[in-house]
Symmetry: C2
Subunit: 144 residues, 2 copies
DNA sequence: TATAATTAAATTGTACTCAATTTATAATGG
DNA sequence: CCATTATAAATTGAGTACAATTTAATTATA
């Protein structure tokens, strides 16, 4: 009796894919409070940390390309959270910088991680194991 | 010196989200061989197993709703892998059934899981741990 | 130094993803 | 039986994702 390698429950990728979407969905009520989508939120995280970043670097941080980031950053600019301008040193680079309003949003966002963690129902050790395994996959992915 | 809870590297959700997309991207060359997208592929997995399923059940299996599944199933019907028809017992239900061509595709797909696993660079034990943790998150998600 | 090659964003087109609404059908209670 | 309620898909609209191409600017090289 051979196991069916094409059964959904025998896949590792599927719970990864489903879990990722379910967790992003869980963020929605919290992110609605500050008017961001999940992708906009993680882009803001990079900007809260770095203040200024070009599209390429941001894409490397988030594993996203300009096709996703260009419209997203235009939206964040419209909302007033970032500014977008070409680098003077190299006009090919678009420099994204956080505004005061963008900085201020961090205060409203700071309770989100804790409230989200409370939803996940993994203990600290399990969360740590998951974190380590996911980053191992991500990093080895970069090699191939 | 307090840790910054809004730093990208301190999030658990982010590697989950990034990893999921990276793994789906890794499938692409294999799925191109059989002409499916990743979402179409996991929908076909359910059909390879169940032969027939309505949209609601399929959505529960895949954690997707009709907004995603309706156009996807129409596409699979166009390709000739499934048929779509209303249930005679309850016209609200749309019954999706696999065709012979859909069944035949399973033979071409059966080498994919093994080739994918070789890309992931997790050993059996790590993969098992990851699988267990992800399903734990998915299941507890259903409670809340 | 022209030209070729490279690089960074933007654009284009296809396909999800999901919240919210609409439409059609079925079940239920008065 | 009829109005209400519930359920299942489909539709709509906003926002990703990403491959592939295009545009513009820079760098490398013949």
């Amino acid at each position: 009796m051979e196991i069916d390698v094409l059964k959904l429950e025998n896949q590792l990728c599927f719970p990864l894919y489903a879990c990722s979407r379910e967790v992003v969905k869980k963020y929605k009520p919290y992110l609605d409070e500050i008017g961001l989508t999940y992708t906009q939120y993680i882009a803001m995280m990079v900007l809260w940390e770095k203040k200024t970043v070009n599209v390429k670097s941001l894409g490397e941080c988030l594993y996203l390309d300009s096709g996703t980031l260009t419209p997203l950053l235009k939206k964040l600019e419209t909302i007033g959270l970032v500014t977008r301008s070409r680098s003077e040193k190299d006009e090919r680079n678009l420099v994204v910088s956080i505004t005061e309003k963008g900085e201020a949003l961090k205060n409203q966002a700071k309770t989100i991680p804790e409230r989200m963690a409370a939803c996940l129902n993994l203990n600290t050790q399990e969360a740590g194991t998951l974190y380590t395994l996911l980053y191992k996959m991500l990093r080895t992915g970069e090699l191939s």
